[in-house]
């Protein structure tokens, strides 16, 4: 079963997610899936401290996230899943949960990343990872906030390469 929003965003929990998406979607739960963050008490606290009380924030590693996601049976589930890069989605897929749709919400500039949109920069390796996910039948679209225009990732990748 799909979650409300399965988002790749290198900033993980921040304003765009907590205010921009969670509010209109009336979300109840945010799962931050990251092996490193889940190992660090300090980082967990940093990400969760400013989450409003009506939202349950969980920080899980890939195994825990996959297990939680495979247990979702309600078609109107109010969960947002956040991962920092496409690689993490591949790990989740390899563990047995395949999301129907992925929101590419923010991958910002760093070395070897090329610009696709103001909020999407990708390494060649990440483009390949997105292709891998698309080949699994997953739909991927870029959109930073709900009011902005959604852009199909395939269109974006093909246009540039």
């Amino acid at each position: 079963m799909d979650v409300q929003l399965f988002r790749i965003d290198d900033r993980l929990i921040h304003g765009q997610v907590v205010l921009g998406w969670a509010k209109p979607l009336k979300s109840e739960r945010i799962i931050l899936c990251d092996d490193e963050v889940s190992e660090s008490e300090w980082e967990k606290e940093l990400y969760c401290t400013c989450v409003p009380d009506h939202l349950l924030a969980l920080v899980c590693n890939v195994d825990e996230t996959t297990s939680l996601l495979t247990k979702i049976t309600h078609p109107d589930d109010r969960t947002i899943v956040l991962v920092k890069e496409p690689r993490v989605v591949m790990d989740i897929v390899n563990k047995g949960y395949v999301p129907g749709t992925i929101n590419l919400g923010g991958l910002h500039y760093s070395d070897h990343r090329k610009k696709y949109l103001s909020y999407i920069y990708l390494k060649d390796e990440e483009v390949n990872q997105l292709h891998w996910l698309l080949d699994k039948g997953i739909r991927i679209y870029c959109q930073d906030v709900p009011t902005s225009k959604a852009v199909d990732v395939l269109h974006l990748i093909n246009k540039r390469n």
């Binding site: 929990i13 921040h14 940093l46 401290t49 400013c50 910002h108 500039y109 760093s110 920069y121």
Partner: protein, 129 residues
């Protein structure tokens, strides 16, 4: 006199505009660095900020960020963890920046920060309709 490195980190061009607006009133300020989170990833921004810190070698580092819980806030906290001589104030506005630069080196550091926060709040004024 203590050396300060001051960072304004915000969404969009707000940091740069706050710097310009403050300097329009008080004149140019030393070691003030505005950053936007618009396109750079947080590790890239962190590197730029660390470079500024290495260059200035400040006694105190002050971060002004726009929104607690946002990515600028997260970034400032990550740097704060490695630099114990740093402090973070969220909810940056013009009155607090003016208070800060006017009173820099006039007060012991803790009192300065207390004053800046107080003046930032005092600067929010309501005229009833």
């Amino acid at each position: 006199m203590k050396t300060y490195a001051t960072f304004i980190v915000t969404h969009e061009q707000m940091a740069l505009c706050l710097q310009r607006a403050t300097e329009k009133i008080l004149g140019e300020q030393k070691n003030l660095f505005p950053y936007t989170n618009l396109e750079d990833s947080l590790p890239v921004l962190a590197e730029k900020i660390k470079k500024n810190i290495e260059e200035v070698k400040p006694d105190q580092i002050v971060f002004f960020v726009d929104l607690a819980g946002g990515s600028c806030w997260n970034l400032a906290n990550m740097i704060h963890k490695q630099h114990h001589n740093s402090t973070i104030i969220a909810g940056v506005n013009m009155p607090m920046l003016i208070s800060y630069f006017t009173n820099l080196n006039e007060f012991p550091f803790n009192e300065l920060i207390e004053k800046v926060i107080k003046d930032g709040s005092r600067g929010i004024v309501h005229v009833e309709g």
